[in-house]
């Protein structure tokens, strides 16, 4: 685990999800943890 004192701020992004909803990463700040999973690809 990266120490809180040196952990970098996560780069923010806004993107449409599979249902077309706009997702903004920074909207979780102060509220929830986020696990970002970068897939290899399904196919």
């Amino acid at each position: 685990m990266i120490d809180k004192k040196v952990a970098p701020q996560a780069p923010d992004f806004t993107a449409a999800d599979s249902e077309g909803n706009s997702i903004r990463l920074s909207s979780y700040k102060g509220k929830r943890n986020v696990v970002l999973v970068f897939n290899r690809g399904f196919f």
Partner: protein
């Protein structure tokens, strides 16, 4: 992905949202996501703007695909784990990530 779907509730219980980002085009991604009834957020990123541009996910030409990566972000918006896989099997287990979330939640209480 299948295992993560089964375990998703454990992430929710730990005050975490799971956001998966895939390299497929929007239509293919949406079809797969709906067919598999994925309970968490999935974002198609066909131009790799998020995966490569912001989070430096690697593309390994010899295997013809992207290598998985995983980031855990705490409630203050900081990256507390950034894992770049060396192979398709090299992914932190759900148990490892859940244990890390428990640690993060202790910090913020």
């Amino acid at each position: 992905m299948a295992q993560l779907r089964q375990e998703y509730q454990k992430f929710v219980e730990r005050d975490a949202e799971v956001i998966a980002i895939g390299p497929e085009d929007t239509a293919s991604f949406q079809k797969w996501w709906r067919n598999h009834k994925m309970p968490f957020i999935g974002i198609p990123d066909p131009n790799h703007v998020i995966a490569e541009g912001l989070y430096s996910q690697k593309f390994k030409l010899i295997k013809g695909g992207r290598l998985p990566a995983l980031a855990v972000i705490d409630k203050s918006g900081r990256i507390r784990l950034m894992h770049y896989s060396d192979s398709t099997a090299d992914i932190p287990t759900d148990e490892e990530v859940l244990a890390l979330l428990d640690e993060l939640n202790k910090e913020t209480k």
